[in-house]
């Protein structure tokens, strides 16, 4: 058995979990939600094992030294979906809001599906620039931060839907019906959003700092304004704005939720867009 096959199982597990959670919103059946959670948890366990297996596989390549499997796009996307599940499970164990799964699992599923279908999963031994423990620290902290932001984004979307429904429902205090009735209250969603960013922000900061430390260690410059670095700083600025927006009158609530969504869009751009899109714009320089 190879890690690639196991990752296929994981992708299917997250797909099933996603469908079940959406089914839960439609049917309101707690059993369906529990099944969804079961799929998500099993997927997570299998994925944890598969990442370990891939780590082992990197040692089996002839002439290679082995490395933590987080060093190319495929591996990082897989790791990203793992961290999303990790944060989701932490929230699930603590709060048990079942509807949150429907807004978080899609991110994990899309990441896995893209990795399995669209990315090159070859194990390539590390070139000298990447042979550093800093790489591992850097990737782990960044991606845990990204995952927290993914959860915050999902929760913010729920928040916006919820307050909109409440407004439409009339006086704003009566509970909204339908699917939205299954959501936690707007206050709780707002709080979850903040909690997720509270976890994500120090992790992102640590991710940027470990990246800078690594750059300094590898070539003597901790900051050089390259697009990837700059975009991580942009993301950082947005979430810093979010943190201050929450304590500013007139900026709490909806605007803060929008900032959280914009922040996650910027996160995704930092992670993927910089490599996939800006490279094109940059090609004239070469």
């Amino acid at each position: 058995m190879s890690s690639g096959q196991l990752f296929n199982v994981v992708t299917f597990g997250y797909f099933a979990a996603m469908v079940l959670f959406i089914g839960f919103l439609a049917t309101r059946s707690v059993v369906v939600a529990k099944l969804g959670n079961l799929c998500a948890y099993i997927g997570f366990v299998v994925q944890t094992f598969a990442i370990g297996l891939r780590w082992y596989e990197t040692y089996q390549v002839p002439g290679a030294n082995g490395y933590a499997p987080m060093s190319n796009l495929y591996e990082s996307v897989v790791f990203f979906s793992w961290t999303i599940l990790l944060i989701y499970i932490m929230i699930d164990l603590k709060y048990k809001y079942r509807a949150v799964g429907a807004f978080v699992l899609p991110f994990a599923f899309l990441a896995m599906a893209w990795a399995q279908l669209g990315l090159n999963d070859a194990i390539a031994p590390l070139v000298p620039a990447l042979q550093s423990n800093w790489l591992t620290y850097h990737v782990i902290t960044c991606f845990l931060g990204y995952a927290a932001f993914a959860v915050a984004c999902g929760v913010s979307i729920m928040y916006l839907i919820k307050v909109r429904k409440q407004k439409n429902a009339g006086d704003g205090s009566s509970p909204a019906g339908g699917i939205v009735g299954l959501f936690p209250s707007a206050k709780i969603l707002d709080d979850l959003n903040y909690k997720a960013i509270m976890i994500g922000f120090p992790l992102l900061s640590l991710g940027i700092i470990t990246g800078a430390a690594w750059a300094n260690y590898a070539w003597g410059t901790y900051w050089s304004w390259d697009p990837k670095e700059t975009w991580s700083l942009i993301v950082w600025f947005i979430y810093a704005a979010f943190l201050h927006a929450r304590i500013t009158r007139g900026w709490a609530g909806r605007r803060a939720a929008f900032l959280s969504i914009i922040g996650f869009a910027a996160t995704i751009f930092c992670y993927l867009g910089v490599n996939l899109l800006l490279a094109g714009l940059h090609s004239y320089g070469s």
Binding site: P128, Q131, F201, P202, T230, W251
Partner: protein
């Protein structure tokens, strides 16, 4: 200008203190930073003109878009950001200092009513014993309390983790510290580079954009340089320089391997493995046998060098390389016979018998290929870097404290109520209210238990 109530200076001060300005500057920094990631920075004028029309180029250049992170407006935004941060902290810090060092230990009736976490009991007994009981209760369940008296009312005050209030300020200060580190680095640091051939040594380096070399005050010697690859592939595995440092005639660092991700530091300067290249022509060791004879002659030749063969013919090393396709070291030889006939022969180190099959007059074998390299080192000095790391540490610790630690305070207020004793218990937390509420609710039952005990 409408500054009816407040004077101009005070409204300027308010402007620089406002959190709206913080949000504005953070978002502006985020948005403007995008420019430099879309437009490539610091190219030559010619490179830009290949993409933009002259007018567009001039326009963007006037806006300093081609070096935007050092432009007056971007630096200006950063300065605004720092001023905002400083003013805001100056404004708020005294209040926090007061809360921490001079807490309100005797809240008024009105203040007591404002607490959302509160409980109240009427018990028999006298104030003194109840106060003692409550003192024990707080010490056991929360923190040791201090006792105060005012107007015949007894107040017990206990608090936990008051330093948590400073987390935000440490975070904010950390940003100024990081900027300070960056400024120190810009003023007192430099970046340079130097190439050293294998076996050679240097005592000066070159700085970017500076003509004259910078003397180091010591010698850096490159003992060896090598590149290794994964298996037979072209994927590099390691670039490795072995460096020694001789200072004042004394060997300070001896044969230190320096690879990417493991630089060499000496006297505040750090040497990073960054590039390499061939130094001089490569040399080959070849053996030549005349077909049918046993005796072989050995030569060591540089690229382009010629040697005389036993029969009076001549051989010249036209080219040589460490890796020819995937076949390893190879050399191309030109054999010129006495009557001027020229023939090209290729030999491989890994295939010793290859030339035998050519059926020529001579059989060549490539015994060894030797290419001397130079190692390219990046050299930097940045005395601000430790300050930056200090700032980064403060940033992380400050954030953790600000987010996850809360300053909790509790009061027990004991007063005469007719012939009984009224006991009020209130508490507050400076953040994470929901969790504190749960905690306080539990404590409430213990509070009642403690009071009902005799």
């Amino acid at each position: 200008m409408s500054t009816k109530q407040r004077g101009v200076p005070s409204s300027i001060w308010e402007f620089f203190c406002s959190l709206k300005l913080t949000i504005f500057s953070l978002i502006s920094l985020a948005v403007t930073s995008i420019i430099g990631t879309v437009l490539q920075q610091n190219l030559t004028r010619k490179q830009y003109l290949a993409v933009f029309s002259k007018d567009t180029y001039e326009f963007l250049n006037d806006l300093q878009f081609f070096d935007m992170y050092h432009s007056w407006w971007f630096i200006g935004l950063l300065v605004l950001f720092c001023i905002n941060l400083t003013c805001c902290s100056i404004k708020r810090f005294p209040r926090v200092w007061r809360i921490v060092h001079h807490p309100n230990v005797t809240p008024t009736e009105q203040q007591l009513k404002a607490f959302s976490n509160a409980d109240e009991r009427l018990v028999k007994g006298d104030i003194k014993t109840v106060a003692e009981k409550m003192g024990n209760f707080l010490a056991e369940n929360f923190a040791a309390a201090k006792v105060f008296e005012k107007d015949g009312i007894t107040y017990l005050y206990a608090e936990k983790r008051k330093y948590a209030r400073f987390g935000v300020y440490v975070t904010h200060l950390s940003i100024l510290v990081i900027f300070l580190g960056a400024i120190i680095g810009n003023i007192y640091g430099f970046k340079g580079y130097v190439n050293i051939p294998e076996g050679g040594s240097v005592s000066q380096i070159w700085l970017r954009n500076v003509e004259a070399p910078l003397p180091l005050g010591f010698d850096v010697h490159c003992d060896d340089f090598s590149v290794s690859f994964y298996g037979d592939s072209q994927r590099p595995k390691e670039f490795r320089s072995v460096l020694s440092i001789v200072d004042g005639g004394e060997v300070k660092i001896d044969h230190r391997p320096t690879v990417v991700n493991d630089p060499l530091s000496y006297k505040g300067l750090t040497f990073y493995q960054s590039s390499y290249g061939p130094a001089g022509a490569g040399a080959v060791a070849i053996k030549v046998k005349v077909r049918g004879e046993d005796k072989a002659d050995a030569f060591t030749l540089q690229r382009g060098e010629t040697a005389e063969l036993p029969g009076g013919d001549r051989v010249k090393v036209v080219d040589c390389t460490a890796t020819f396709r995937n076949f390893g070291p190879a050399a191309q030889l030109a054999v010129t016979s006495r009557d001027g006939e020229r023939q090209i022969v290729t030999v491989f180190k890994n295939f010793a018998k290859f030339d035998e099959q050519r059926n020529g007059k001579y059989i060549f074998t490539l015994v060894d290929f030797n290419q001397l390299y130079y190692t390219g080192l990046q050299v930097t000095k940045d005395p601000g870097v430790m300050v930056v790391w200090l700032g980064c540490t403060m940033l992380i610790l400050g954030c953790l404290v600000a987010f996850f630690i809360s300053h909790q305070r509790m009061w027990v207020v004991i007063s005469e109520q007719k012939d009984k004793v009224g006991v009020r218990f209130v508490g507050t937390s400076h953040r994470n209210q929901p969790a504190f509420e749960l905690y306080f609710d539990e404590l409430k039952y213990k509070f009642r238990d403690a009071l009902s005990q005799d």
